[in-house]
């Protein structure tokens, strides 16, 4: 049953992505509406899948690379749907859905069943920790997308070569505003996620902070976003510089996510999470 939900969600996200790509070329509102509805349906099936997983595992389904990628995709889709309500920027979907689709495809190709869950993970603090962090990640993915769109549009206007994207992308002010808001909304989630993680670590392992490589990189990510937010709010950074910085921040975030979970980490790695050995 759960697998069926996932397959349907995967199918729908691919359908919606192709729709959004056709939309950016053809610029017809009908195509956007169809793609958007498909994506909403995808989000519903994906949610059903996750709820099912949660009840089967007894813990947030974010304990292997396969499941985290799928959860990441869910967060990005959710963040996009929320941002659409606020900004009504149709073309954003054409940039966001390919990311979500790519994550879903990678997730679906990773073999293996969900590992047995270490009982130590079955606490609300663990779930709170991963869920808030990933929601933050999803929102930051939107800021990354908006930053890329900003750089494309700004480059065209600055160099005075108004190509085919010029008409299709919105104004610089809109993109900058999306970038700004997504960092402002994403940052509290990241912060709460880190705090929840620390509390969980105290309860489960007896210390708030252990200087595990992933913790260190998470701190670096947090500091990078904190700096960007500070520069934006206090110094008045905006536009190109803010866009470049938010792309850099997101790359650090991705490195932390992948590097910390696969190569570097000690107890944050999926291998250890799964078997519970490192704990």
């Amino acid at each position: 049953m759960a697998n069926m939900f996932f397959t349907i969600a995967l199918f729908l996200v691919l359908l919606s992505t192709s729709g959004f790509i056709v939309y950016i070329i053809k610029q017809q509102k009908k195509i956007f509406l169809l793609s958007f509805m498909t994506l909403s349906a995808c989000f519903i099936f994906h949610t059903l899948f996750l709820v099912n997983q949660y009840y089967t595992l007894g813990v947030a389904p974010v304990i292997s690379l396969k499941s985290s990628l799928s959860f990441f995709a869910w967060c990005i889709t959710g963040a996009y749907l929320c941002f659409h309500v606020r900004f009504r920027l149709m073309v954003l979907g054409s940039f966001v859905t390919p990311i979500a689709a790519a994550l879903m495809i990678i997730s679906s190709t990773i073999q293996g069943l969900e590992p047995t869950v270490n009982p130590i993970l079955k606490t609300p603090w663990f779930t709170a920790h991963v869920v808030t962090i990933f929601i933050g990640n999803g929102i930051f993915a939107i800021s990354f997308t908006a930053a890329v769109m900003y750089l494309i549009q700004e480059g065209q206007i600055k160099r005075k070569t108004l190509g085919s994207f010029y008409k299709r992308l919105p104004s610089l002010e809109t993109l900058d505003s999306i970038n700004h808001h997504s960092i402002m909304y994403g940052f509290p989630f990241l912060t709460i996620g880190i705090i929840a993680g620390a509390i969980y670590a105290q309860n489960a392992l007896g210390s708030y902070w252990r200087w595990d490589p992933k913790e260190v990189w998470t701190l670096i990510t947090w500091l990078a976003y904190a700096m960007l937010l500070h520069e934006r709010l206090a110094v008045g950074w905006r536009g190109r510089r803010a866009a470049l910085m938010s792309i850099l921040c997101f790359l650090i975030l991705i490195f932390t996510f992948l590097g910390g979970s696969i190569w570097l980490s000690d107890y944050h790695s999926f291998r250890n999470l799964g078997l519970g050995a490192g704990l």
């Binding site: 005075k160 008045g236 510089r241």
Partner: protein, 429 residues
Amino acid sequence: MTVIIDIGMNHMSAPVELRECFANDAGKMGIALGYMRESELIKEGLFISTCNRVEALFTTDYPEEARKTVISMFSTMGGVSEDSFISNLYIFEDMEAVSHIFRVASSLDSMVLGEPQILGQIKDAYHRASATEKTTGVILNRLMHRAFHAAKRVKTETGISESAVSVSYAAVELAKKIFYGLEGKQVLLIGAGEMAELAARHLIGQGVESLFVANRSFDKAMQVADLFHGKAILFEEIGHYLIGTDIVITSTGSKEYIITHDLVRKSLRERRNRPLFFIDIAVPRDVEPSVNNLENIYVYDIDDLMTIVEENSAQRKDEAIKAERIIQEESIRFEKWLKTLEVVPTIVALKERTEALRKAEMERSLSVLGQLTESQLQAVEALTVSLADKIINDPILILKSKAGRAGRDIFLDVARRLFNLDMENQKRS
């Protein structure tokens, strides 16, 4: 045979001095429509008059005479002699008139290809003719609705009205790609000039909130500021006002740069890096080119804007070819409909003739049949109606199918004779 005729002049056929004489004013339109309604020669009429064109569109059974009256109407209306403008007129008949009016409505005949106002102007003219003056009928009503349909197709199926084709409009489009909306933005106009003022006017039309005007002569600045309900400032204050400004339009005759790299750089921090858009229409330029290298500052000079306009114009020409195809399709469709119209009178006559015969026969028979009950009477009525309908059903279908064909007139003639629709043999029988 009813003919559709269009007589008119546009920006290409006539100079502005001549077009002015028939210029867009509601009174003249009323006179023209009244004249066409009164004329015995003209069946339906429509009069279009904008600053770039005058068109009289009408249907008539006497093309030669009607043409002459319309030309003399032009002459009295404009207060000019016929000789002075007759060579500037174009006259289209039938399908040529149809596709001409389709092209006009779709803005393919406009000075600025694809400009959106013309459709609205034609709709107004049609509304005036059809609703107020009641000078249009079956043919023109249908023709105009098809023209609006063709215009809509051209607008949605081609990119003809998508891109800016004037410098000031291109500047406004750019401003809209830098700022989310122009509501509440502040504009600084440095220097004066027609193009700069046009750009300012466009920006105000888009909701720009406040406008400041700087000029070497404060007097002149005051004048221009009054024009736009703005505020005049001294030339020396430009640096200060740059801080709150979002869009700057420059068009002075100055030989040196008015806006230097240093001047803008100094304002950056106080502006908190808000984007600033310079539209430099002046030649030689007023804004130092290196200002464009500053972060969040965009400078477009007249050449940059002209390049955009030229690219857009070229694009529009490509789209115009697509649009011409749509016009042809729609003209052919209209022509088909028009041809069905020509068999209509015969079909109507056929129906009337059979109905008259049926009624006469019914009356005669009823007296013979004696007392009938209500239901019997209805049955007889229904019987005769369906009998008559069945008999003429096939002939009508054949006539309709011949509507647009070559042998149509033969069929019409035969039908008229066979069913004696013209009542020629009345006496003989």
